[in-house]
Amino acid sequence: MSPDWRGHLPRLEELARGFGLDWFPVVFEAVPDSFMTEIAVYGLPVRMPHWSFGARYIYQLLQRHMGYSRLFEVVFPGNPGRAYLASSNGVADNTLVAAHVLGHADFSKNNLLFRRSQQQGSEHIIEHAAAHARQIERDIEAHGFKAVEKVLDAALSLEQYIDLDRGLRRDPYPEYVAAPQAGTGDEFRSRFATLDPAAAAAPSLRRQRAPLPPHPEKDLLWFIATYAADMEDWERDIFLAVRAESFYFHPVFATQVMNEGWASYWHARLLREADFIAQDVYLDAIKCHSDVVRPVAAEEQIALAVNPYHLGFTLWEAIIQEGGIDAARRVMREDDDFSFLRNHLTRELMSEMNLFRYKKQANGPIKVLAEDIDELRESLLQGKYNFGAPRVAVAEVRKDGTLVLEHDSTIDKRGLDTDSANKVLEYVIHVWRRPVVLRTVDGASKPVEVVANSAAA
């Protein structure tokens, strides 16, 4: 009988500490494959019910049956962190995975984005998500399944619309515009104020209502939960629950290449140094490693996508070779995928990895474009902006309560797909309970307005 992978854990941890890895304790749990799939689909071990997760779940199952994807581990940052491993995996696989998890745990304790998210939110996102799910179960009992589902339809479709710069906990806007400073400012005003001090002071007594919102508001979830006139409290709570989970998901999304690369680097390094692991287990584990970080599927010559594990792994190897572990740890603490790729993906690494840019021509074959490292980095990053979503913000709330959303097509370079936008507005109008309008541009860059069909609400 080969020893269980758990037997190797204490010595792996000791080895990792020797390299300077620093992490909160991790609770390991081996779970069946189906549960692994669920965690990957829901993003959290316990999460609110919604039919869209069911559709993704079946999609994942199909992919797994066709052998496309295989899940090795899912880690949740926190204190303690939690790691789920597939119980069907062999000793070698799970030993590798345990080492991989230590890399992730180190990353999530030290990376700036993760640290901020845990400071703002909490170190116990799993427990919070479970509490949200429980609360939503109670809402279902109290208000019925369909009513809760409609709110979740809206909240989850706006999942990516949070404002990281303003943070998780926010106060409502000031209700009134700050009183203009009479007498100060330009020379004319100060001379005017001396003519009749009473008249000059008078305007400050009259308060002026601030426009709503005072600036374009990116945090749609917060704005709707705070300013929808007729929303029930339980509906607002659902919006805020989805929003809190989004703040948790963001660092995972924004550091994917770095984080996976870091964990892959450390599982390879730790295993290489682990002389306590039997030779055959080590060989199997290394085979598994090369499957994970291989750039192109075995039977293919060319892939039209980049494996983030491979990309991150290669970059970290280069960084550590050049500057040592300390330099790498500084990058790990301070960067996200934008700065990581822009600073460290060099022309040499691009050629070494055989990365190329391509363009899918309309009705034609795919054309490989000329080498250009700057363009290539931007192509890699194009899906990373704004949490991967088009830029939509609240522009104004009209006097009749109409919510006006504005899509920034100058940065996104294209307008929104009006069909799906219309459907999203139909979700939103159900909770906003007033007209909802979205401004974007059409295919010819002419402004168009999408208006939700209120009959559908």
């Binding site: 669920e38 019910p49 997760f53 993704r56 119980s87 039209l304 890699l380 936008a421």
Partner: protein, 403 residues
């Protein structure tokens, strides 16, 4: 941490994983939410019932199923309109200027959003029993069940009714017989367990039954003015009517009659392909119906329905003949309905509408309705079935004039 021997780890691991497996099996969120997704798909299909049936040859076969291809439901998010020439980054041995065929394309997508924004997904093929669809339809439209005419039937059935002291052995009612025996022995305890006087036999009598046989005539105008689309609409409408009648009647005969200036009987598959030329003489069609009805169905024992679909044109000199023929037919049918297919713009007072209005006003159970496109079919079905139920209830009282 206390050191764990390999033996221990193995056992605890196995024990744990068993307990854990049991727990996870009991509770699958993925499966629960997938069921909800399927339910939503069924609801979505539900709303497009008339469109589903417009396409297939399903009138004659009540047990068949329809297969409806559906996409996985999309939970919508804001997304950009598709890029006509999207760029990406790939990996492998490719030189600038190379053209990659679709065969070389990796099938996997790169980074996904936090929520996973994969497109489409596989298509599902859902199977629906026609009967289920009909039941939904009836629930949704709150259609009344038809009431067969009672009393105009000569069909009778043997029904069990009462007991007698004599009868065939096979109809012996043991429970009754024992009861009788107990009663008798309560009076004199010394008598034997069973005597002939104790035996009770179930009896049968002949009772007239409401007519459960029905026939429906689908009369279709196939003159030159009826387009393919018009015939498709008629077909879809006829399907619902047949389905509705089949809900009520155990045996339903369907007769397809097409007419231009003449009339012919067809089988189902040919019926909808027939395209005639020339003008329209409605009386020819109605007379053909009359002829078949007399030859094949006994109006006293069969509930006969007539549904006529046309675009409303009729030869002007046929007006009186058509009206007489319709009155003739309507007197023997349970109900006569007329559906006018007005794919173009048309007022409601076509030749044939006037005839049906007149016949309806004279007290015979009939009504008319017009449809423009497949969305109106369900409404037309509702109109006829509710109207039929109303006239059947009033039975004899002057029916309201059609709306």
């Amino acid at each position: 941490m206390t050191p764990i021997t390999p033996q221990d780890t193995d056992d605890t691991a196995r024990g744990n994983s068993n307990a854990v497996n049991g727990w996870y099996d009991l509770f699958s969120r993925g499966a629960r939410d997938w069921l909800r997704h399927s339910e939503k798909i069924r609801e979505a299909v539900h709303q497009h019932l008339p469109q589903i049936v417009t396409g297939s040859d399903i009138i004659n076969d009540g047990t068949r199923k329809v297969r409806v291809p559906v996409r996985m439901l999309e939970h919508y998010r804001f997304k950009l309109r598709p890029d006509s020439e999207p760029e990406g980054v790939g990996q492998g041995t490719a030189k600038p200027g190379d053209l990659l065929g679709p065969g070389n394309a990796g099938s996997k997508q790169g980074g996904k959003g936090p929520g996973g924004t994969e497109k489409g997904g596989p298509e599902l093929l859902l199977e629906f029993k026609i009967d289920d669809i009909i039941d939904w339809m009836w629930e949704e439209l709150r259609l009344p069940n038809l009431k067969p005419r009672i009393g105009k039937s000569d069909e009778a059935e043997w029904k069990r009714e009462g007991w007698d002291r004599r009868g065939a052995r096979s109809r012996l009612d043991r429970r009754r017989s024992v009861k009788e025996s107990v009663k008798r022995r309560a009076q004199s305890s010394s008598s034997p367990a069973f005597i002939d006087e104790d035996l009770r036999f179930r009896q049968l009598t002949r009772r007239p039954q409401p007519a459960v046989r029905a026939a429906v005539f689908f009369l279709l105008d196939v003159s030159a003015s009826m387009t393919d689309a018009d015939r498709q609409l008629a077909k879809s409408f006829f399907f619902w009517v047949a389905a509705g009648l089949r809900r009520q009647y155990r045996a339903l005969d369907i007769v397809f009659v097409a007419h231009t200036t003449e009339a012919w009987e067809f089988n189902e598959s040919d019926f909808f392909k027939v395209a005639g030329s020339g003008g329209t003489v409605t009386s020819a069609g109605l007379n053909k119906v009359q002829e078949i009805m007399e030859a094949r169905f006994n109006p006293a024992g069969t509930n006969v329905y007539l549904f006529y679909a046309s675009d409303g044109d009729n030869a002007v000199d046929d007006r009186d003949a058509a009206r007489a023929a319709l009155e003739n037919v309507a007197r023997q049918t349970q109900y006569a309905g007329y559906i006018e297919i007005t794919s173009g713009l048309r007022s409601g007072s076509s030749e044939i509408s006037q005839i049906f209005d007149a016949v309806g006003a004279s007290g015979l159970a009939s009504s008319r309705c017009s449809i423009k496109d497949s969305n109106d079919v369900a409404g037309a079905v509702r109109h006829f079935f509710t109207h039929e139920a109303r006239t059947a209830e009033e039975s004899g009282a002057a029916p309201e004039s059609p709306p």
